[in-house]
């Protein structure tokens, strides 16, 4: 993927970003904004809100770049975490009962998926989609619930009516399977 080929120059990119280079920022935005926007949209389910949040997220990334430590993790992962945390915080702030709200929306996740895919027929993503379709539905459900829904282990266990141990085991199994699929 394009993103990985640029990893070699990631340190150069960060160095330019800390020098407040506009070109570097534009490159960063063009490269990562669709992925971040997709994550945010999946969490908040509202395009206007997601657009506002995306703006906030890039401001945060821009301002907290000094806090990013390459030795602790990948840049994209760090950016994803900033995006995810911002979106989930926003969701929690506006909804008093986030669990029930997300639970009823489970049906809509797939609708949103379909919409997004028709909007953006990216061949790379279609290929990935096929790969992920091999992922067991109960594992995919758990990933979506925790990653995009912001559920804790306990909340997920309660939601899926499963023992906490089973949830933990299943998260590991799901991620391991994902890792194998993308190898």
């Amino acid at each position: 993927m394009k993103r990985q080929s640029s990893l070699v120059s990631e340190s150069v990119l960060i160095e330019k970003l800390t020098r407040r280079d506009q070109q570097a920022f534009q490159w960063l935005y063009d490269q990562y904004s669709p992925a971040l926007y997709g994550v945010v949209l999946r969490i908040v389910r509202d395009e206007d809100q997601a657009a506002d949040l995306l703006q906030d997220i890039f401001v945060k990334i821009w301002k907290n770049l000094d806090a990013y430590d390459a030795s602790k993790g990948r840049l994209f992962t760090w950016m994803l975490n900033v995006a995810r945390n911002t979106a989930i915080d926003s969701l929690r702030a506006q909804k008093t009962q986030p669990t029930s709200a997300i639970r009823t929306d489970e049906e809509n996740v797939h609708i949103v998926d379909r919409q997004h895919n028709t909007e953006q027929p990216n061949p790379d993503h279609i290929g990935l989609k096929e790969v992920v379709s091999q992922l067991r539905p109960e594992r995919k459900q758990l990933i979506d619930l925790i990653y995009f829904g912001g559920y804790t282990h306990e909340e997920a266990a309660e939601e899926l009516k499963l023992p906490l141990g089973t949830v933990k085991t299943r998260i590991r199994a799901a991620l391991q399977e994902l890792k194998q699929l993308f190898k």
């Binding site: 280079d21 506009q22 920022f25 669709p34 657009a51 703006q55 995810r84 799901a174 890792k179």
Partner: protein
């Protein structure tokens, strides 16, 4: 600590999913910086999740980027200096490159055309030179001829100018009806010369011979040719002090002591 066991515990998966407590998070970060195996597993899980999230990529509205570019505090002066440079560098050389080629091609074409022009000029000049040479040669031979004629005319004129000259016209008889010639005889210097107007051509072993009559007897006055290319007037090296008449016969080459009367062509008396 057993790293393998820690990796297998599932804490790393929960960490990348963002489903860990603050204390667990710090623990994972600490251990991953110590143990490369932990870090590697963490990276692999991160990449897998990154890929997974990319499934849901959606192009955000363009307004977001515009707002961000307006909102964020970029290093403007450096940006304005840096930004146009790649543009110049990418368009500049290609433009110069193209221009260089165009100029080179134009010069090449001009040189080619000029060469053709020079070549055609050279050919024209060579042709002109050849024709000039030919006409020059013909002119030179003409001049030579004219000089010869002039010399002959001068000679004849000098002869005619001398005082005491007498001119006799000898006309051919029935053996040479077209025959016609002049005999110049100077009564003071005793020189004699002939100018052949027209006489029949003779075989190579024959020559015309002039005779003069003194007291009814023919005396040799010299031999001459029917036509002489170099001399219009042929001087005969005999001295004639007295003559009553001149006559012409055809004799063997070199002349005869006595005339062969059967070959007498012309005879003209001199009126005293």
């Amino acid at each position: 600590m057993n790293v393998t066991e820690y990796i297998a515990s599932g804490i790393l998966e929960s960490y990348v999913m963002g489903a860990v407590s603050d204390q667990e998070r710090r623990e994972v970060e600490c251990l991953s910086s110590i143990y490369p195996d932990v870090r590697q597993e963490l990276d692999h899980l991160s990449v897998a999740l990154e890929q997974y999230t990319q499934l849901y990529s959606v192009e955000p509205p363009a307004s977001v980027k515009a707002k961000l570019l307006a909102q964020l505090d970029f290093d403007q002066p450096q940006e304005t200096v840096v930004r146009p440079m790649p543009v110049d560098l990418t368009t500049g050389p290609t433009y110069t490159y193209r221009l260089t080629w165009m100029v080179a091609a134009s010069i090449g074409l001009l040189v080619l055309l000029f060469s053709f022009y020079l070549l055609s000029q050279l050919r024209t000049n060579q042709n002109t030179l050849a024709s000039v040479r030919t006409s020059n040669n013909s002119l030179q031979s003409e001049v030579r001829k004219l000089k010869d004629h002039q010399a002959q005319a001068d000679q004849a004129l000098a002869l005619l100018r001398q005082p005491g000259l007498r001119t006799l016209e000898l006309k051919g008889n029935e053996k040479a009806p077209q025959g016609n010639m002049l005999v110049f005889w100077n009564t003071q210097t005793h020189q004699v010369a002939v100018q052949v107007q027209s006489l029949p051509a003779l075989p190579a072993d024959k020559q015309y011979q002039l005779w003069y009559m003194v007291k009814g007897k023919p005396v040799d006055a010299g031999v001459f040719e029917a036509s002489n290319a170099t001399e219009l007037v042929q001087r005969l090296n005999r001295s004639v002090d007295r003559a009553e008449a001149f006559a012409v016969t055809v004799e063997k080459r070199g002349g005869s002591p006595t005339p062969t009367l059967s070959t007498l062509l012309a005879l003209a008396p001199i009126s005293s």
